[in-house]
Amino acid sequence: MAYTKRFDGRKFDETREIKAKVGVVPNADGSAMFAFGDTVAIAAVYGPKQLHPQHMQNPRKGILRVNYQMMSFSVSDRIRPGPSKRGTEISKISEWALDSATMLDDFPNNVVDVHIMIPQADASTRCAGINAASLALAHAGVPMKDLITSVSVGKMDKQLVVDVTKKEEDYEEGEGATDVAMSFLSQSGKLVHVQLDGKINTKELKEAFKMGREASKKIYEIQKETLKKIEKEN
């Protein structure tokens, strides 16, 4: 039984409704919220600032430090609060993705801390997290060569779809579900992060990247608009 109609009725190349806002954590140097439908991420950036302990410093340029964490009540089966292997892995790959955009040569021995938290999850959480973090970094005034836009592309049996939900992730018919999370330098389109789980051939994968890149352009427009929206000043 092929996947001819998406569970929520979306077109195959359509993302869920996107909501984004900056300035959600007043204490932070920069912050943002980003949501793909029911998947919500918030990110806060502090820095550049001094990094302690000294042995972690890089004398040639500043380092980016990302921490990704899901809130205990973001999923059906409660996640015990505290660090997790999955959180640690996603923190690192998000760091690598965001690092391709940030320019920290002028901040040797410093650190820029990025905190990502997920209060509500419906798959594609790392993508929402990276999108929120990218906004927060720009909002914080960290020099960047470009924004980073992240999106997931799935294959349900043989059908490619953009922005995967949990129900789609759990699809078991035919070839089952394949999930590809990818992030791009928004303007240039260079790929800065990819993770894949499932079964997919090279032709399908090339198509998946094309779809992801197209979707990322639309997401980027929303990211840009979010940063440009200045609240009415009186």
Binding site: V24, S72, F73, S74, V75, R78, P119, Q120
Partner: protein, 280 residues
């Protein structure tokens, strides 16, 4: 980072001696409070509370568990709090430090000692299976008084919470069936007051600058009987209190409770109503 703005702290204390605060509030007055429920559709109950710029999110999750040996017919409660580095760069990752632990334990004690949750109604099978209630609290922006704000968030999340459907045959939770039964709560609604001693005065709901300028605090949880009853108390900090001051603080709390408690209850009512209608 320049955080302890000592000069400002002196001014705060000086001003307070005249009974005044920088943002023109009265000493027993809370900043603007806003409450939103249903911030996570995967939680059994959830709430986002803002008091001034301080923001805390709380979520209630429930799971099946074995009862404790000394209470075979009662459900269990576990409260955890995280003072996140996201909310204030002075908090770090790693094993919970004292501040986080204290906050979690104080919220826990206030709820537990009040008898707010009807634990007997959370028993599924005596001695075998009960509901475990988890209340997890996260700071989102720290501009002072995290404990009181966290407590309000926990209350709102509990009131918003619905008990999931227990599939007796399978012996597990059926998340596909919509939860209809509310969390069993009593009329002993606890309310938490962190009273900070600052210079010669006492204040409620300090901003982070006022907190830094304070010597310590007395944390008191009360339940709305007539007269109000104290169900838990803790003194934090190295300062000392004379008996009269202590009495003054208790009167202060009783007075503040009269306006604050009904106000917060009403805000929670409205938040729940809004969350329910949004779901439809």
């Amino acid at each position: 980072m320049i955080e302890n703005l000592n000069l400002t702290a002196d001014r705060i204390r000086e001003y307070l001696e005249k009974g005044k605060r920088f943002d023109s509030r009265k000493v027993g007055e809370f900043r603007d409070i806003s409450i939103e429920c249903g911030i996570s559709n995967k939680a059994e109950g959830s709430a986002k509370v803002k008091v001034g710029k301080t923001e805390v999110w709380a979520g209630v999750k429930m799971a099946l568990a074995e009862p404790y040996a000394d209470s075979p017919d009662k459900g269990n409660l576990m409260v955890s709090a995280e003072l996140t580095p996201l909310s204030n760069s002075r908090y770090e990752y790693g094993p919970p430090k004292f501040d986080s632990i204290e906050l979690g334990r104080l919220v826990d004690r206030g709820i537990r000692e009040s008898g707010y949750i009807d634990f007997e109604k959370l028993c599924i099978e005596k001695g075998e299976k009960v509901w475990q209630v988890f209340v997890d609290v996260y700071s989102i922006n720290d501009d002072g008084n995290l404990l009181d704000v966290a407590f309000i968030a926990a209350l709102a999340a509990l009131r918003h919470a619905k008990v999931p459907v227990y599939d007796k045959k399978e012996g597990k939770i059926d998340y596909d069936k919509p939860a209809k039964e509310s969390m069993p709560l009593t009329e002993n609604v606890p309310f938490n007051f962190s009273v900070y001693t600052c210079g010669g005065g006492i204040i409620l709901d300090p901003t982070i600058d006022e907190e830094s300028a304070s010597e310590g605090r007395l944390v008191v949880a009360v339940i709305p009987k007539k007269p109000i009853q104290i169900c838990s108390m803790q003194k934090s900090g190295e300062y000392s209190l004379v008996e009269e001051k202590f009495g003054e603080i208790l009167d202060f709390i009783e007075d503040a409770h009269k306006t604050l408690f009904p106000k917060v209850q009403k805000l929670i009512d409205e938040a729940i109503k809004k969350a329910e209608s949004a779901k439809k």
